[in-house]
Symmetry: C2
């Protein structure tokens, strides 16, 4: 089954809104074996909407629209589509009652204009919207299939998942496009590619893409046009294979977060963690505390942006700073050890670096970052140079700190 | 002048890539008075690209394409468009030499397939791409105007700004759509609307939109279809008027960042700042240190996620925690005072709260946040309850902390 997407909204064309719905819809349809062949965005004008929907139906026989279902005069999608199907709009008492019920729940009174939201093209199936006021509509007839969804992302997403995809499931080709990802960090794309060179052929018919970003290189495996169960089996096997081949550089799959992996491993090992941050200014702490339930593992941290604070709060020897500079393995080591002691943790990570744009030198260019990890054994340090702007250097530094911490906890050496 | 946008890429339809180019292009065109009337996305298939471009030219007489200009077999845009114009592809020595020069600079050798990137449809103007390998192309003839740009966002953005918009400038209607924003924080949308009720009429013909988000409510003023100079004059006056009306809740315009405003004001007042964070876990520090040059103002902070650290590092009295709870104005006050003293700063802000999803109670529901600010005068505290999920509560809490800090510095009371 082929389908087109028509997104309606003057805001989209003016660029006031970034259209994230389209990517979500594309992924969801491909996963169900429905091929999205074209996406069109038009303004809130009846003739533009009519031309786009009619063209899509003529080419592909099916169209999904988003937007233009609200109660204001701008909201023209339903009226326009009803006209294409020669279907008069009829007031639907059930829709109206559930709208009234929704308003009651929020302690508000519906406006007169809300009544139009209860109008349904004759012959259409109402897709109940428990997440907002505009119901979705499913209209099938002479011109083809038109599915209308609201443009609000949360409403679109829920209606798509709960009302649209189950109805489309039987109509797909049976051949789906599905993806999984293995997340790696701390290894360059080219090095990773060499390491995976041998197994790339064995992954077929899955395709493998390398997606480098500030958090590392994601490996995306895609199954193209396979039966759903074959796709899932192949992807599971492929993910296992890639994870094994990437070794200590792999930290999870799909939406996995390195901070969550660190917390999990520390929790299992019964370790409490601390952070000492300079150039990252609190990003390591922010990442760890973004994970619900982190408080039983992460005790806290120190942001010692000023060098005096490195001494005041972490007992870094001013002589070490004078001799090696604030961005040095020696200072990173003392910061980590200081955090371990002063914050009474079992393992501590430190970051000190030059995020730029200023502050670089020939010996220590912008992007130079030193990381330390202290625990039960001797303190470890690493020095690296990251590319990118200030924000990218900082994000890469925080990710590298979490990676070193994960490795250390994994060693059983706290 | 009307124009359509055709974005080319199977990845876009599959939702593997979110199309951020489209919004950028829409904004930039509207600012120059060129009306974007339709956006279409198609897969990397010659017949789909041809149908979309031909349809756009027929309807609107002008089309801008992105994507499909690279060196691989997937990259079909140039070939397809050249055929629509009956223009043979010709090898362009100048383009080839600049490609070779670019490869030399990066110490790489071009692949044989790169030669196709130097092929230009007869009659096309080459738009030199100093930001990548695929030049843009400007092709005007019988079917209309076709502008081809690469899909890589940084290359698209630079070519659009430096090569395309200057050439389109003369062709627009002369009537532009331009926007400016006044950023506010710490005031509810409804309260702000009441406050601005009187002046809304006076802003005409500008439209005013309220855009609430985690950082506060942005006020977007838009000039629709005016001469460029009139639009700019009206927008400047409107921004001044809104800023005055929003009073202490306005912190800047357009892309202004509250953390940068805090640092500016502290720098002018000669004050050094510190932060003591619990539920935000380092977000206040992260925001302040994201601003280049923050090190002369922000000395650092303490992330005291564990209550013991509040005492160890900030001298919070355990009895205060026992009596009032860790999330209380009393603890926020002691955290701020502790940070001021221990970190030797002139002003310090503290945040303690319940970000959720767990940890709430009837008396202190999820979203409860207490903030303290200590400086020369007596310590101030505030308690608020934020909506949203864990990340939203944390982002709103960090923003509120920065806002209180800004107000305190502004009072001249450090």
């Amino acid at each position: 089954m082929d389908i087109e997407l028509v997104t309606v909204g003057t805001e989209l064309l003016l660029g006031f809104t970034v259209d994230t719905n389209s990517a979500e819809i594309g992924r969801a349809l491909a996963e169900e074996g429905v091929r999205l062949v074209r996406r069109t965005s038009v303004a809130d004008r009846p003739e533009e909407i009519a031309a786009a929907v009619a063209g899509a139906l003529q080419r592909s026989g099916a169209v999904l629209t988003t937007g233009g279902l609200g109660p204001t005069r701008d909201d023209m999608t339903k009226t326009v589509v009803a006209a294409l199907y020669d279907a008069p709009l009829e007031f639907d008492e059930t829709v109206w009652q559930s709208l009234l019920e929704r308003y009651r729940r929020f302690g508000r009174a519906p406006a007169a204009s809300n009544r139009t939201q209860a109008e349904v093209p004759r012959g259409a199936t109402v897709l109940p919207n428990r997440w907002g006021t505009a119901p979705g509509l499913w209209l099938e007839g002479e011109p083809g299939l038109t599915i209308m969804l609201p443009g609000v992302p949360s409403e679109m997403r829920n209606l798509l998942a709960h009302e649209v995809l189950p109805r489309l499931r039987g109509r797909g080709s049976g051949k789906v496009i599905r993806s999984r990802a293995v997340r790696t960090t701390g290894i360059a794309e080219s090095t990773l590619a060499e390491r995976l060179d041998d197994i790339e052929d064995e992954l077929e018919p899955l395709s493998l893409a390398y997606l480098p970003g500030v958090s590392g290189v994601d490996l995306r495996l895609t199954a193209w046009g396979l039966e759903a169960s074959d796709a899932d089996d192949l992807l599971s096997a492929g993910v296992a294979r890639l994870t094994a081949a990437a070794g200590e550089f792999a930290y999870g799959t799909d939406d996995a977060d390195l901070a969550a992996a660190v917390l999990d491993r520390a929790r299992r090992a019964g370790l409490r963690l601390a952070a000492a941050e300079s150039c990252t200014g609190g990003m390591v702490g922010t990442r760890l505390t973004a994970v619900p339930g982190s408080s039983d593992v992460f005790v806290g941290g120190v942001v010692c942006y000023d060098d005096r604070l490195k001494t005041l709060l972490l007992d870094v020897d001013p002589a070490t700073i004078a001799r090696h500079g604030a961005v040095s393995g020696e200072v990173a080591a003392e910061m980590a050890t200081g955090a371990l002691t002063r914050l009474a943790a079992d393992a501590a990570v430190s970051v000190t670096g030059i995020a730029g744009p200023g502050g670089g030198s020939a010996e220590k260019p912008v992007g130079t970052v030193c990381i330390g990890v202290a625990g039960r054994g001797p303190v470890e340090t690493a020095r690296m140079v990251f590319g990118g702007n200030r924000e990218e250097v900082r994000a890469r530094a925080a990710q590298a700190a979490l990676r070193m911490l994960l490795g250390r906890i994994g060693s059983g050496d706290g």
